[in-house]
Symmetry: C2
Subunit: 195 residues, 2 copies
């Protein structure tokens, strides 16, 4: 088990896939809500004051490009928006402020953003099965036969619904298997798998 | 297969469980997005202009208490907010405008709202495992050994993550098994089960 984070940042951006975010948000928000670690808090940080997903659902994040200095876990979802955002200098520079020491997680094509920011160089990673070719230039190896790839500080997951597995995987990584089992039971999620 | 809906209404309300909504939203929104039935549209209808979930996430719905006359599928998520909303006369009256003919679906404690509005009388239904006792007064039988209970016009599902199964179940019910399989593959959801 790694030292558990106390402040979690969820990044959201235009044309994200909402389930990429919510699938892990649901288990991680339960860490304090279910009394597993009541000191844990989170913030939903946007690239704009209102964020519309791939199908027009509008979310109002807690803040815009908030300073990441006080956080100790950054979660990056995917979505069609990543295709343009890999070339968005402001976003990539912002992701680089996270630096080399704190844990980072992505689901689906969120891995493309981590890759573009340089975090996957020399590492194994995964992403949505339709984006494997897009991810290859950024990493040592695209893993195509696992839902979750844990390279220690950086954990990447496959497409969309893998976000539920990733959230529970992070719960277990930081707070232990009993916490993961309790939260999965509360969520009535039966299919948990990292593989 | 029932006649497929063309206009889907997703209800959202204060202190909903966000994954209850998004788990089915993700598969249903893909019906037009993936070209399965391009005429299908949806609206996210709130009980207020801004909706905060159980953990503070803020959503801006497309409309507030929009007239339901033009819709042909209504989807009701659950969440801690349902405990108060079963006594909210405006919401219950609004749900009753749906009437006896059009299909209705709920996940998790959304079933309590359908029950309070009278839709479950004489029917079998299910809900989150911690809410079985709350649901009993509203229905003929609470089904405790299935994720999804299909009573023809009214389909109820179990807790939180059952929303992914419910969304895919509705896809199959209205657009057929090949559509369900295509969408599940795109979502990388492997654990689909109605049971």
């Amino acid at each position: 088990m790694s030292p558990p984070p106390k402040r979690i940042a969820f990044l959201v951006f235009p044309r994200l896939t909402f389930l990429d975010f919510v699938g892990a948000y649901d288990s991680l928000r339960r860490i304090p809500a279910m009394g597993i670690a009541t000191e844990v808090t989170h913030r939903i940080i946007g690239t704009a004051g209102e964020i519309a997903d791939e199908s027009g659902l509008v979310l109002r994040p807690d803040s815009v490009y908030e300073d990441l200095a006080s956080f100790d876990l950054l979660y990056v979802p995917g979505g069609l928006g990543t295709r343009a955002l890999v070339d968005d200098e402001r976003l990539i520079a912002y992701l680089r402020t996270w630096g080399p020491d704190r844990p980072l997680a992505s689901v689906c094509t969120g891995a493309l953003l981590l890759g573009r920011a340089g975090y996957l160089a020399g590492r194994r990673a995964t992403t949505h099965h339709r984006a494997w070719d897009l991810l290859r230039p950024y990493c040592r190896e695209v893993v195509t036969d696992r839902r979750i790839v844990d390279e220690g500080r950086i954990v990447t997951a496959g497409g969309v619904a893998s976000s539920l597995d990733l959230g529970l995987y992070l719960v277990e990584k930081f707070w232990g298997a009993p916490a993961r089992e309790r939260i999965a039971a509360q969520m009535e999620y039966r299919g948990y798998s990292a593989v």
